[in-house]
Amino acid sequence: MQLTLEFGGGLELLCDSEKIHKVNVDLPNGAAADDDFTMKHLLSWVRTNLIKERPEMFMKGDTVRPGVLVLVNDCDWELSGQLDTTIEEKDVIVFISTLHGG
């Protein structure tokens, strides 16, 4: 599915200094057509395909590193279930790191 991913707060440095990535993400292998594609799958996809260096700056375990904010269609992912948030066609997901000087 077509998605737009944005990286801010310094995270763009981990993805070749590109802030905006328009990507085409395939459903994970073995997933049935009815399975929802969630943030959990997306994060794993991003780590494999977009993060070129220092993945520990972006993720910790299964989820994002504490201090990284996630917005799905301009909405805090805490409202939609964090890792369980379902992702749909044409969604815009923004990752902003807060871990830098102010």
Partner: protein
């Protein structure tokens, strides 16, 4: 119709904003766990800061206030919100942006470009001060000399002591770059050459947020620095010095500052200082972030604990005197900035770092027997260094 309904169901559930009950929520506040919409978020964010300013009597009408601006998220939002509140509630303040150039290539030069843009965007005049002009050393020079450990000690001390010199209370000098926390002027004469303008400052505001202060409380506990622990939660510091400093964002969560900047599309610079990964504060920050995930309220609670700490009467606290070399407030014979500078100028970069050995003015040779005989308890508060 169905698709967008499904989307909004997914986004905020079928709930509405807790406050207005009209709009779709976009944020879950860590402070209160409320789900609120964009407009209500702007309102509570700005109103809470206004209340902090009013209840703590941070400003007086007519004051000339410098906003420590680094181009980063906190100082950008601070500049925006403060100038907005100044207008809306008629604080009567004369605001301007103050920036410091520590001389860190690739970090500070880029962030200063952002501050220059802020100057235009918010209509606030900008003044810049540099470590090179003030101390004769840039951070890059310092790191070349001392290596990658303890850089933050130098930077932080130099930064805070800028205001000690009459620069700010009396006169001039100017195009110097400021750090986002005011630093002090040591080399008055050099600065004179650069022309002068009257730079009178009554107060300095910085963008330290709740997360920063909680980290500092923890850091001081971890280091056994009781003297700092007793001061670090004060919303205003340096009232007995030349320029008081205050932190209107003391109770504001970092997450909310970033979300505010994002929704309002405020321009800020976000690269980590290249020397910071080696700083001890990083551990406290990591811990605080993990804690916030489990229990967001912890950040404010740590600050509350810090505010309510009382020091046992039997604890020996360092006495406040003045530095013999420059006259700044100091609990030792020489203030930290003078010790560090002397070390740099003499090619003794470790001076002022680590446990104190003998007097600063005397020789640096010490008898090993003497120093190992001291126990931890006999050390003065705040004199243990890592």
């Amino acid at each position: 119709m169905e698709a967008s309904e499904a989307k909004s169901k997914r986004a905020g559930g079928s709930r509405l904003c807790c406050i207005c009950n009209k709009r779709r929520p976009v944020l879950k506040r860590p402070k209160t766990l409320q789900q609120i919409c964009r407009e209500c978020f702007y309102e509570v964010f700005e109103e809470e800061i206004h209340q902090v300013i009013v209840q703590n009597r941070l400003f007086k009408s007519g004051e000339r206030v410098a906003i420590g601006a680094s181009g980063g998220k906190d100082s950008t939002v601070l500049a925006y919100v403060l100038s907005e509140l100044n207008r809306r509630h008629n604080y009567g303040l004369d605001l301007f942006l103050l920036s410091i150039d520590e001389g860190i290539t690739g970090y500070r030069d880029d962030s200063l470009e952002t501050v220059k843009r802020n100057e235009v965007q918010y209509g606030l005049p900008l003044q810049i001060v540099s470590y090179k002009d003030l101390y004769g050393w840039t951070m890059d020079d310092i790191v070349k000399m001392i290596g990658l450990k303890n850089n933050c000690t130098f930077c932080g001390v130099f930064r805070r002591q800028v205001s000690k010199h009459s620069l700010f209370t009396q006169t001039f000098i100017i195009p110097i770059i400021f750090c986002f926390m005011i630093s002090s002027l040591i080399d008055f004469l050099k600065a004179l050459d650069r022309g002068a303008t009257l730079l009178k400052v009554d107060k300095l505001v910085t963008g330290h947020n709740a997360d920063d202060i909680a980290e500092t409380v923890l850091l001081n506990i971890l280091r056994g620095d009781i003297a700092r622990l007793s001061r670090c939660t004060s919303i205003t510091t340096g009232e007995d010095g030349p320029i008081p400093r205050c932190k209107p964002f003391k109770y504001t969560y970092e997450k909310e500052i970033v979300m505010y900047a994002y929704f309002k599309k405020l321009d800020y610079f976000s690269t980590e200082c290249i020397y910071s990964p080696n700083a001890y504060r990083g551990f406290a920050r990591e811990f605080i972030k993990d804690l916030e995930r489990l229990r967001p309220r912890a950040i404010l609670d740590i600050i509350k604990s810090g505010e309510d700490f009382r020091i046992a009467t039997t604890t020996k606290m360092p006495e406040q005197g003045t530095c013999e070399r420059c006259g700044y407030i100091s609990s030792q014979k020489w203030c930290k900035a003078c010790v560090l500078l002397e070390g740099l100028n003499r090619g003794l970069p470790k001076m002022g770092i680590g446990r104190p050995r003998g007097s600063v003015n005397g020789d640096n040779k010490h008898t090993k027997a003497g120093s190992t005989a001291k126990s931890i308890e006999s050390k003065q508060c705040g004199s243990l260094d890592f």
